[in-house]
Amino acid sequence: MFSVQTFGDTGKMKDYHYTGPVEHRFSPYAFNGGTVLAVAGEDFAIVASDTRLSEGYSIHSRDSPKCYKLTDTTVIGCSGFHGDCLTLTKIIDARLKMYKHSNNKTMTSGAIAAMLSTILYGRRFFPYYVYNIIGGLDEEGKGAVYSFDPVGSYQRDTYKAGGSASAMLQPLLDNQIGFKNMEGVQHVPLTQDKAVQLVKDVFISAAERDVYTGDALRVCIITKEGIDEQTVALRKD
């Protein structure tokens, strides 16, 4: 109980008492920004993310990429709350090792996606505040992208944007890769070089209009030869 004595309007002393429970507003979550994007091609997959880590009006770091390499053929992009991203990737790495030791083979992209869905759902009532996108090659060597919501619902896509600028990027990808709602257009399949150029252009646009996206772009290109990483500068303001 906290008691304050003060003078009221009429000149009499008034006692103010705070009684009962006091609600302390502690939120276990924070929003650290960042955008992630993944595109699947015929025999390649691209996972790209910006490298800005922010909170409110501050930038904590300009070099915090959001793509994490899981296996030789799979990369995951995680954006949202950085604390949960770190813990989630640690748990996924541990589960990958456990699988490798029990089954003597590396997990395939589809299997990792199904496993991540159950890991996320295990926290259905206290979710990981992370928007995940997995990019990789499936068993046949074709590109695969799996997108998730924070509690584990997922599906396989051709392309997906997630994170703070996702609502700006997704329509652009629908138009350029999906040819959605356009008439009289030839559906040209995406080559690797065109896809990489598109991803770079798309992030430059995102950095223009989203405050939480910028600084640098990290692109991971996954092919059967391995994972190739490129870094491109973006707006730093």
Binding site: S27, Y29, G56, G122, F126, D149, P150, S153, Q155, D157
Partner: protein, 270 residues
Amino acid sequence: MALFEVSGFRSYSEVRGRQTHLADRTNHYNFGTKTQEFAVPVGVDPSGFLKTCNHDGGVCIDMNHGTTTLAFKFRHGVIVAVDSRASAGRYLASNDVNKVIEINPYLLGTMSGSAADCQYWERLLAKECRLYRLRNNHRISVAAASKLLCNMMLGYRGMGLSVGSMICGWDKQGPGLYYVDDNGTRLSGRMFSTGCGNGYAYGVIDSGYREDMTVEEAYELGRRGIAHATHRDAYSGGVVNMYHMQEDGWIKVCKEDVSELIHRYRKGMF
């Protein structure tokens, strides 16, 4: 060993001590691989917890939601039709989600409500159906499968799950259709529609339904039900995925874009 786990054998000490439980922290050494564990926020009501976290310094956790699904029995089996839209708050997360889970060649489950809840529990239901088949050497009945799902929902009643599902199949009793939801409601019936667009779908299928429809008429009715519901409900859209449950299993009938259908109906209307 694999057979040990599949057979479901549990020693006395395990049955007594270990059940599905809620922990305030998931056990990181098992990572939830041995028994299913759910982490729960400490000291807070789980169903309202996420709402209080939203809008706090930009935090906005939205889960994929929203649908129209319908199913009806008629002379030649069961028709199941669903839309394919998933929304997260006001943002359209995806326009081509698969909302029908193919449990086995004689059982289908539809999903409406929260996408993660439906995907998870119906996948678990598929696992239980498979185990039943292995242990008992005959396929599970539709009534039993729907009861399994219903009991899973009852176990977590009040925790904020959102599931509106229809279990359709063909077993020894003939065609079966059950509606199961997150309150533990389980109803057998001839016709159901779930999701936020269900009112519009009911209007269409109620007015056009006859028990002795031909197969083509039934397909058209299912298509129209979903198409008109997506036309008026903002949270439904995408494509119509339609299945037909027959005596020798289900077949996938079509996957048609809703805007094409509406355009076609418009032309016929005026």
